[in-house]
């Protein structure tokens, strides 16, 4: 999917000139006057923040490519409205980079108040860029009462985003791990390692595909292949990539992909645009194996009748990349108190439980379940199980995300080679 184009600000026309010319357009004169409440003080008590938040509308800009996630965001809004008087408006976007662009343009134009978005779903390279340019407000995460239950030690991805410490500028709300799934009735013994997967594709021409990088799931798959075939020590991926190093380290990757692509679906001449499209190819029986960042992806699709009940999911033996997703507050957010309340609610055992339910989303919790109350622990233990969920021990084979510079470098190098 292409991103929406957004580059506000500075075409070198004067504001007055433009205003005068556009006055000819009817309808243009609505949407005036934005109410901008004051930011919560750095040492404000939580009760004060709750009081300030009541009545606020939080515009939550979040990637909207997955219906079950959109439905969960809708549920969150209903809950925060009922409990805290905070209304959530989901601003749906298909590319988070676009939103970072918008914040950057706001920053350039000096719009430090009254921003159009209050909470953003962010991680990885977008977080890195936003931090680098001072686009995020904070630190706020440690001030959320719910943050105390986050399992920062057992799940380091909740405080380290693509090698960068979050430092309280974003608050985690879920964890993803690349998980493979297949129809056991048609493919009883799927490849268990990345090497075996490359061999599988060669032996079964046209039966495997991956989303074109740019899509985060596709980019992650390319990182997996890189990790499997690289001759340099894996540690280099956790340092910023420099140009010479990047070419040397990734050379074996391109050799592997050059050899791999002719055996892919459509002989590697077309790639599905994203992971939902990949999943549809599996349900259409065009391919035999698919993957997603959500371990419950297959289970969820089975419960919706989109995939057969014989689906099984697994994490290959050599492990897969794991990362957390976060919410952050833009520097010029209008409803910062409300945004904090929503971020805090996302950390509540109740929201985390709902989100972890494979019938809802199936996104693993960021909390340390052992520190919850007995009843809450029991509720987590009683979450529905499904045969299409990966075995719990599989999720132990997580690999941390490389430095974001590798992510961006791989996308542009892949496009240069295979999409030009």
């Amino acid at each position: 999917m292409t991103g929406a184009p957004v580059t506000p600000g500075g075409a070198g026309l004067t504001r007055r000139g433009v205003t005068a010319s556009l006055a000819a357009l009817p309808l243009a004169l609505s949407a005036c006057g934005r109410d901008v409440p004051a930011d919560p003080a750095k040492d404000a008590a939580w009760a004060d923040i709750l009081a300030a938040a009541r009545g606020q509308t939080v515009t939550w800009t979040a990637w909207a490519g997955d219906q079950k996630i959109n439905a969960f965001i809708g549920w969150v809004g209903a809950q925060t409205a009922a409990r805290f008087g905070v209304t959530v408006r989901h601003a749906k976007i298909d590319d988070t980079a676009v939103m970072v662009q918008q914040m950057l343009a706001d920053k350039t134009a000096g719009r430090t108040r009254g921003g159009r978005t209050d909470l953003v779903w962010i991680n990885g390279e977008n977080f890195a860029l936003a931090r680098e340019n001072g686009l995020l407000w904070g630190p706020f995460a440690e001030r959320l009462p719910g943050f105390g239950l986050v399992d920062a030690e057992g799940k380091p991805a909740t405080v380290t985003d693509f090698t960068l410490p979050t430092l309280g500028y974003e608050s985690p709300w879920g964890i993803g791990q690349l998980t493979f799934f297949h129809d056991s009735a048609r493919l009883p013994a799927p490849p268990r390692t990345t090497d075996a997967l490359l061999a599988f594709a060669v032996d079964n021409p046209g039966r495997f595909a991956y989303p074109a990088p740019g899509d985060f799931t596709g980019t992650t798959f390319v990182k997996q292949v890189l990790m499997a075939v690289m001759t340099a020590p894996r540690d280099v991926l956790y340092e910023p990539a420099d140009e010479a190093g990047f070419d040397a380290v990734t050379a074996p990757l391109w050799d592997a992909l050059d050899a791999f692509h002719p055996h892919l679906w459509r002989s590697g001449r077309a790639f599905p645009p994203n992971f939902p499209a990949l999943r549809r190819l599996l349900s259409d029986r065009e391919i035999d194996l698919a993957f997603a960042f959500n371990p419950a992806e297959a289970a969820n699709a089975v419960s919706q009748g989109l995939l057969p009940a014989t689906m099984r999911a697994y994490v290959p033996d050599d492990g897969t990349i794991q990362n957390a997703h976060f919410v952050a507050i833009p520097f010029n957010a209008s409803a910062k108190a409300g945004a904090m309340v929503v971020a805090d609610f996302l950390l509540s055992p109740e929201a985390q439980l709902e989100k972890a339910n494979p019938d809802v989303w199936g996104d693993p919790t960021v909390l340390d379940v052992a520190r919850l109350t007995g009843a809450q622990q029991a509720a987590f233990a009683a979450l529905p199980t499904a045969s299409a969920l990966p075995p719990p021990e599989d999720l132990g084979r997580g690999i941390a995300e490389p430095h974001p510079s590798w992510h961006l470098g791989l996308i542009s190098a892949w496009r240069e080679r295979y999409a030009a």
Partner: protein, 564 residues
């Protein structure tokens, strides 16, 4: 005195229409030129120069993309012209022709995005056609690994565009035939022994073509910069110029932004070059055929055969359009529909129930913007036409075509910069105002002839009886024109509902409509939901046309004296 003041008011209205149509395009192009030439402070580019173009031309994907863009855009237009003229030549004068125009009016309201989704459902290797013959006839127990959609040469996209454009041009031919004494000419030719098809080609087509010129150029410009159908059906690596440019806009680097702006300008120039070349081709074709036109041969020969062949493609195109609507509707009521079943394994209302939940915002936005801009468009067009009706000069039609002839992507980037400068980007108002730009020309074209054809004596009588101009317009003229007004409203709404790129730009990716949702869902996992979005998107303009039928009938009942 009073009369003079009134006329001034209406003249002002006419000027407003001209401004609405041209000013945003001009400003948009200007605001796109600045970043294309290196001035884009918001993205951190402050070095005027031609670096962005150098960057663009040294990007390998640009040249590959340019090739597929030309193949799909120009190829589709050529095919569409051949099929529409061939089809008209074959069918004109038969009873099929009248039925055709009745069938085509709703087909015009069929948005590109819906059509592309339906087309993909039909022709994908796991699509309906493959299912219909599998596995019993083909032996395919799993879908064949064939690159039919998203093929690197853009053939699937070209055929889909050609289908949509051919139907549009047939409709334009039907309208233009009203301006040409075709029936009399053909009758005369028949008495002289000319075959029907030959007579149409030799006598009617040359007179028809000049009236089709602007619609054909609009088709060329639209085909060269199409984005929504190209995302769904076009090549992916690299895509055609429209989606490729949109992709650069979505990236973070300042050079991506300026390269995208440069690409917009390149597409503007490309469309201009192609249209000029087409115009030159018209001259060549006229000279090449002049001997044939006058050779006096009554039938046979290459041209009528070619026309019959091209025209016979109209049938399959109509069938594909109908089948794509049908398959969308079936998916939207499917419980599940796994390969290789020819029909869903069960029917269910669930996709619509869940779809109405997830699509509610998009549906509300689509209805608000679509019907709102249609009303505004009709009002502005009436104002402008009324101003012209009493002595003022007519607004030349090429002016109306400007938003349709300038490739959308060439000025929308600039329009988006202007909106964000006003801090209105991402608001429904900005999207609606931007839509108006595309709605108004169509509304104007629908209303112009009925307005001119209205018997001036009604208005005169009203004025003689002492009514002012406004009262005459509202109480006398508009009720008489209720039917074309409602058709214009329906057409305007249909245009707005189907707009993709203007929605994405002015909405800053944050104002979802059924079109943007359908395009997003087309690539998604759940065909049922994509089916619901596309079916709702198809149904919404039809609602407008239903209103256009019902309301004049109601008015007619209240005014029995009128034969409407």
């Amino acid at each position: 005195m009073r009369r003079g003041r009134g006329a001034d008011g209406f003249a002002l209205g006419a000027w407003a229409v001209v401004l609405v149509l041209t000013l945003p395009v001009a400003l948009g192009v200007l605001a796109t030129l600045l970043p294309a030439f290196g001035w884009h402070p918001a993205a951190g580019a402050r070095a005027p120069g031609i670096a962005a173009f150098a960057d663009l031309f040294s990007t390998p994907s640009f040249w590959a993309s340019l090739r597929t863009t030309l193949v799909t855009g120009v190829g589709a237009a050529i095919l569409a012209v051949m099929v529409s003229f061939g089809g008209a030549a074959c069918l004109y004068g038969t009873r099929w022709f009248d039925r055709l125009s009745a069938v085509l009016a709703p087909a015009l309201a069929y948005p590109y995005a819906s059509f592309a989704i339906g087309f993909a459902f039909l022709f994908a290797p796991s699509g309906w056609l493959a299912r219909a013959v599998s596995p019993w006839a083909t032996g395919w127990d799993r879908p064949p690994d064939l690159l039919i959609l998203n093929d690197p040469n853009g053939i699937a996209l070209m055929l889909a565009l050609a289908t949509k454009e051919a139907l549009f041009l047939v409709l334009m031919i039907v309208a233009a035939l009203g301006q040409v004494p075709a029936r009399q000419m053909l009758r005369a030719a028949a008495t002289m022994g000319y075959g029907r098809v030959t007579a149409f080609l030799k006598l009617v087509a040359p007179q028809l073509y000049p009236q089709l010129r602007l619609p054909i150029y609009a088709v060329l410009a639209a085909g060269l910069s199409n984005v929504d159908a190209a995302i769904i059906l076009g090549p992916a690596a690299p895509p055609t110029l429209g989606p490729l440019t949109l992709d650069w806009f979505g990236q973070l680097g300042a050079e991506d932004q300026t390269r995208a702006a440069a690409s917009c300008i390149a597409q503007l120039v490309l469309a201009a070059i192609v249209i000029v070349a087409w115009r030159a081709g018209e001259g060549v074709a006229a000279r090449a055929t002049s001997a044939w036109l006058a050779d006096g041969r009554r039938a046979s020969g290459f041209a009528p055969t070619a026309a019959v062949f091209a025209g016979s493609l109209l049938g399959p195109m109509l069938a594909v359009t109908a089948a794509s609507i049908l398959v969308l509707a079936m998916w939207s009521f499917a419980e599940a529909w796994p390969w290789p079943l020819g029909l869903p394994s069960g029917w269910s209302l669930l996709p619509w129930q869940s779809g109405m939940g997830t699509l509610s915002e998009a549906i509300a936005n689509t209805a608000c913007i679509g019907f709102g801009t249609a009303v505004a468009g009709v009002a502005l067009a009436v104002l402008c036409l009324e101003a012209q009706s009493e002595g003022h000069r007519r607004v030349p039609s090429w002016l109306l075509y400007i938003p349709l002839l300038v490739p959308q992507i060439g000025f929308l980037f600039g329009v988006q910069l202007l909106w964000s400068r006003l801090w209105l980007d991402g608001t429904i108002a900005a999207v609606a105002a931007t839509h108006l730009l595309f709605v108004l020309p169509y509304v104007f074209l629908v209303l112009r002839d009925p307005f001119a054809a209205l018997d001036p004596r009604y208005a005169k009588a009203s004025r003689v009886l002492g009514h002012g101009r406004l009262k005459t317009l509202v109480r006398v003229k508009l009720p008489l024109l209720i039917r074309p007004l409602m058709v214009a409203f329906a057409v305007g709404a249909a245009v707005s509902i189907g707009l993709y790129l203007p929605t994405v730009f002015a909405g800053a990716g944050r104002v979802p409509t059924l079109t943007t949702e359908a395009v997003a869902l087309a690539a998604g996992a759940d065909r049922r939901l994509a089916g619901v979005a596309a079916a709702a998107l198809t149904a919404m303009p039809l609602l407008g046309f239903a209103l256009a039928t019902v309301i004049p009938a109601m008015v007619a009942r209240r005014r029995r004296g009128l034969s409407l």
